[in-house]
């Protein structure tokens, strides 16, 4: 009896170790490869830092942007997308949760449907839309850093990412708003707050875990995005490339691929994410936990 009780956790650990070790193995290979010239399995032939040379000189030539520029692009795109998603989702979530208006139910169902929608099918129509936006003065192509919101701009990519991320964001925020008691809002309305003040001063501070979770989620999906940035920017290592697209350049069909460099660049893109995730695990989990403590 005692043996069986001791055995169960042991078995569980065994299973966990085996399954996670496979994943860890992959990461280990990635790490080792990026610092060696060649590897046989996990054994490096020679240690070198040459693979990481992209950090200080552009591997494709001086007229191509360095990786830091590309990183900035990725950062800008993810940040812009996150900010827009959070702001719009929280306002929409509040309206859907608290206000009565014509078409509310249909809007809610639409949100759910859009969330499940295959985004790939919309790539071509969006291309035309972005082309059209490019023609709009200032917003199309003129904004510094972002480059505008048209085709082949970071802003444009961010806009498209927002569109695909929004249904999820709205649904999540609405869920968080639903959890707050109506009485608190009523008390604020009686105290003299306008709807907007109720949203900003009373509701939002109580949604903090939701905002945090959504921001992290959106930022990470923006950082890792490949298809949409690839489709809506020109050139693999162009001025508007993001990290995932940039990585593609190291894998070519005509020349032998230097997998070590690929591993290094991949790791470079990965490190911030891992750090971020390690620091913010709890907030992320709260999306699925829901609820809030303290107060009623």
């Amino acid at each position: 009896m005692i043996l069986r009780e001791k055995l169960k956790p042991l078995l569980v650990y065994l299973v966990l170790i085996i399954s996670s070790s496979l994943i860890i193995l992959g990461f280990l290979w990635l790490f080792i490869t990026s610092f060696s010239t060649r590897t046989e399995g996990l054994r490096p032939l020679r240690w070198t830092l040459h693979n990481w040379s992209f950090l200080w000189e552009s591997p494709f030539g001086p007229e191509y942007p360095s990786i830091w520029w590309v990183t900035l692009n990725t950062l800008l795109m993810s940040l812009t997308m996150t900010i827009i998603v959070v702001v719009v989702s929280s306002m929409t979530g509040y309206a859907l949760s608290r206000m009565k208006f014509a078409g509310r139910k249909s809007f809610l169902s639409l949100t759910l449907i859009l969330h499940a929608f295959p985004s790939v099918t919309l790539l071509i129509p969006i291309y035309f839309v972005l082309l059209y936006v490019s023609k709009i003065p200032v917003i199309g192509r003129g904004i510094p850093l972002l480059g505008g919101f048209g085709y082949n701009t970071i802003g444009g990519v961010a806009l498209v990412m927002v569109a695909f991320q929004l249904p999820f964001g709205i649904w999540v925020m609405k869920g968080f708003f639903d959890n707050i008691s109506w009485d608190m809002e009523r008390a604020a309305l009686i105290d003299g707050a306008s709807r907007f003040k109720v949203w900003w001063q009373i509701m939002m501070p109580n949604i903090k875990p939701g905002i945090a979770a959504l921001s992290i989620f959106s930022f990470l999906s923006g950082w890792n995005a490949y298809l949409i940035p690839f489709t809506f920017t020109v050139g693999r290592a162009g001025k508007t490339a993001v990290l995932s697209v940039y990585l593609q350049n190291f894998m070519s069909e005509s020349v032998m691929t230097e997998w070590n460099v690929v591993a290094a660049v991949g790791l470079f893109q990965l490190i911030p994410v891992i750090l971020f995730f390690l620091l913010t695990q709890e907030a992320l989990l709260s999306i699925y936990g829901g609820g809030k403590r303290g107060g009623v």
Binding site: M184, A187, L189, I190, D191, A193, G294, G295, V296
Partner: protein, 362 residues
């Protein structure tokens, strides 16, 4: 501030939450809205507050129609059952939130907050957060927040329901005293008839969205307008027995299988005047049923519930039950047969079809 409700109706889709409510609340009065869950009392309160819009009908403050006014324009303070404090703000910020929205000067805000907090006995708690307070303290903060803008009307939505029994008792007295001292027109929603009876000067009893009765505690207790009010007010509740109403030469009689009672002529005449049918419902409160040697009926003890000061005994006779409040020294056991006497002057009569009292105009 005088409050008048005219033909007030509130529908939620098909559901009639408040049905044709007409009510008048005098200035400085403390009125209770009493009724079971779902009777429409909270809905009425929220309509007065401006949170809900009436489907039809008018709400008037001092003769002015206020239907279209936003809650913040109505100069009301409200205390919720869940207190509805803002958990992310300190007690001080909670209390002064109404003033902050009005952009009152910091110094005046602080003065008024301190004054109200001291009045409510929470003067030293201003820096804490609501999550660090006990239920009673939270409730006082909620009341302080309602009072700080010196409203013309105070609304209470079952504020004592979340407190333990002892604290509830104390707060009852405190709220009543507070209202008397401040003289603010107050409306108090509750499902607890003891709260309503002890605190309000007039009680409006509601059921299924319809006003059942509106009067002083004494009126509702001793002269209930209908069966519902009679059974709802008073604890332990009134006994109801099906009887036959007869007029004989010697007077008016109520009889059933094991019981025959002669009721006072005045009552009988009134009942006759109100077209009392033959099948009638007699109501008598447990405190008006006593054990006496030559009583009106014989009944068997079914259960004895000692209450300390007295005992509640349930008797059974002919498939009917009757409860009596007897002195604590009572020593009967289950199964004993005793003789019971009914206090004739305290008999109530009801029409089983309309459920209305047959003793109106008494």
């Amino acid at each position: 501030m005088k409050i008048t409700l005219e033909d007030l109706c509130k529908y939620f889709g098909e559901v009639k939450a408040v049905d044709d409510l007409n009510l008048e609340i005098k200035d400085r009065e403390f009125v209770a809205l009493l009724g079971p869950s779902g009777c429409g009392k909270t809905t009425t309160l929220l309509m007065i507050a401006g949170i809900y819009k009436p489907t039809s009908g008018n709400i008037l403050f001092d003769g002015q129609v206020v239907n279209h006014l936003l809650p913040k324009e109505r100069n009301i303070g409200m205390v919720f059952q869940s207190y509805a404090l803002y958990p992310h703000m300190s007690v001080f910020d909670n209390i002064t939130y109404p003033l902050k929205l009005k952009r009152i000067h910091k110094r005046e805000m602080r003065e008024r907050a301190q004054k109200v907090a001291d009045m409510m006995g929470i003067g030293e708690l201003l820096d804490r957060k609501p999550g660090q307070l006990s239920g009673g303290q939270q409730q006082r903060v909620a009341v302080a927040r309602a009072l700080i803008k010196e409203p013309a009307i105070l609304l209470f939505d079952e504020p004592l329901s979340n407190l333990d029994a002892r604290l509830r008792l104390r707060m009852r007295g405190e709220i009543k005293r507070l209202q008397e001292d401040l003289g603010v027109t107050s409306i108090y929603v509750t499902h607890d008839q003891v709260e309503a009876m002890t605190m309000a000067s007039r009680i409006a009893v509601m059921n299924h969205g319809v006003l059942q009765a509106y009067g002083t505690p004494d009126q509702l207790y001793n002269h209930p307008d209908n069966l519902f009010v009679a059974g709802f007010i008073g604890s332990p509740p009134m006994n109801f027995l099906k009887m036959t109403f007869e007029e004989k030469e010697s007077g008016f009689y109520l009889s059933s299988q094991g019981l025959s009672v002669r009721i006072p002529d005045k009552k009988g005449a009134l009942a006759k005047q109100n077209n009392a049918p033959r099948g009638i419902i007699m109501g008598i409160r447990p405190e008006d049923v006593s054990i006496a040697p030559e009583g009106d009926l014989k009944a068997e003890i079914y259960v004895v519930e000692p209450l300390g000061r007295e005992s509640l005994v349930t008797f059974r006779f002919d498939d009917e039950e009757i409860r009596a409040l007897v002195p604590a020294s009572f020593e009967g056991k289950i199964g004993d047969v005793m003789s019971l006497k009914l206090e004739k002057q305290k008999i109530h009569l009801f029409d089983p079809e309309t459920e209305a009292s047959l003793l109106r105009n008494e």
